[in-house]
Symmetry: C2
Subunit: 340 residues, 2 copies
Amino acid sequence: MKQKANNVTIKKLAKELGLSISTVSKAISDSHEISAATKQRVIDLVEKLNYQPNPYASSLRTKNSKTIGVVLPEVADSFFAQAINGIESVAEEKGYHVLIYLSHESFEREEQILKDFESGRVDGVLISVAKETVRHKHITALLEKKIPLVFFDRVIEEIETTKVTTNDFESAWSATTLLIKKGCRQILFLSFSSTLSISGKRLEGYKKALLENKLKFTPGNIVAFNNDSKKDYLLLKKKLKQSEKGAGVIASVEKLALPVYQVCEELQLRIPEDVQLISFSNLDSAAFLHPPLTTVTQPAFEMGKAAASLLVKALERKNFELADEEIVIRSSLIVRKSTL
Amino acid sequence: MKQKANNVTIKKLAKELGLSISTVSKAISDSHEISAATKQRVIDLVEKLNYQPNPYASSLRTKNSKTIGVVLPEVADSFFAQAINGIESVAEEKGYHVLIYLSHESFEREEQILKDFESGRVDGVLISVAKETVRHKHITALLEKKIPLVFFDRVIEEIETTKVTTNDFESAWSATTLLIKKGCRQILFLSFSSTLSISGKRLEGYKKALLENKLKFTPGNIVAFNNDSKKDYLLLKKKLKQSEKGAGVIASVEKLALPVYQVCEELQLRIPEDVQLISFSNLDSAAFLHPPLTTVTQPAFEMGKAAASLLVKALERKNFELADEEIVIRSSLIVRKSTL
DNA sequence: TTTATTTACGAAACCGGTTTCGTACAAAAA
DNA sequence: TTTTTGTACGAAACCGGTTTCGTAAATAAA
């Protein structure tokens, strides 16, 4: 902290060149006010001294930081990892920096993070909300401060901004319909949140498929996970033990899939003979699980990329206004051996 | 961009309170120069107006940004995803912000990223170098500018700074020894880089185990992946086809494991009967692969956490000096069914 | 009572850029 | 020739904090 290496500043360049600070600044930004000859002298020296302008000085004056804030519930999940890739791809291309924050599914943490964003630290934000998030003053507060925000995957419907999602309803419907076609008469729906719109949609798709096939919807078939792996595990075990032979299971989110394998192993239930399983998942290893997992695979990279593109596009316009629209990028149902 | 909402600045607070800007600033930072009563008035107003100090103004003056830069080769890999988690855990606790950059294994990209860091954008950096990285002027340049940097996992031995690694040599030795004990007389070593120290160490551990068991080291048994999935795939296929019955395979990095499953499937080679496999991997799904994968599991979270802790500790000291030491956190060999 | 400290605060410089505005000189138009 | 316009640049304000330094008033020491 004491003494940072005496960095080369624009002032030094100016002195060295016998020019004023403003001239140097303009030359660097290729202003038409500066002659070609002077510009050349400046960029030559910039190269020679390896001048790196202080981004914070610039941010302070211009009020933008070329930085976007990304808020995720977690990162050790293929979906989010791939989404980051998508986000980074546009950030890199467009010269933006990305600050990453994890809410760990906590509403309070998410609030703190977004509150910090009110400081002007980021030009815009990309968020996939925590499962706990129900209120959303923290989000509207940002929007009111004219800090653009786009949701991806886990959105809040009520907020008027751009949202990038996948066809959750339809995907759950397809998955459920497949299970029914394959003979399941009881289908457990593993849910990780009772409030998230994404969960709601998936559940609705599931319900619709049941209805269309004259199967009664039974609340007891919804298995509500709570992020407490021990309890969740026992609950799942109990439910699977109680389930009828040939039941189906839909894991509405990736992390709920592996526990099913585990429980089945313990209960000596064979997949797919005794239990058929479909999971929303982006695991690369899905094809090599035992047995290979039938998945609803989300276009994670594309979703991240689309969200970032829309955000950046808004940032580049003079008056960015993010339309209140929902971009839907379709998931695909990849049938493997965990279903008959 | 036009008009950001008129944010509340320290100047407004001062005017509102009838105090000077400096007094307000000091009150906020709990300076002893300010009376308790005044401090209270200030923090009350701060609360009331939801004042968020502009981080860039502060950074400009104080020369530090409470931000660390994290440079990774990729993110869609369990190891790095978990490492980010570890890093974030200390960043969150210590009030640091984390900027994420991906080199995508490109040396040029890595150079650009580090060059940007010379601007003072970050207080310190955490890096796991790209597989292409051989030269390292870009890293020493940072160090010379007194920007502390700690390596994790993929380190550069020659550079004198703190490095957090795992016991690569020993782990590879253990894995190889296990395969030999299980009867393998030919063992393929899947390598993803010929220059990275991490690869070198793993290879050495492999060689040592061979030697100890009077097995000859054959260069032809090293399968060099090139990040070109099609070619790599064909190469692996060729090598496996040529390999003797009961051969062993060591995937020196996670992403090389699944291709082995794939190729074995195509060649109708059974794991572990025809091919025994061990992979360096942090995949949660390893236990549920077909067959379950024997892994060298790295303490990814802990490594990220340790690296971040050391970095932050250095940043908090008046004269941060990162010792030229290597912190080794041990991996564990988890034996599953992909080995006999 | 006088002098030395301490307490509590304000004025102003400063961080390193960007941007506005003013101007000298040259070239073009009247 | 005079006026207008354009070109190329510099002075200085500005962004919003932090920090140094100075000082009036209150308190303690002499």
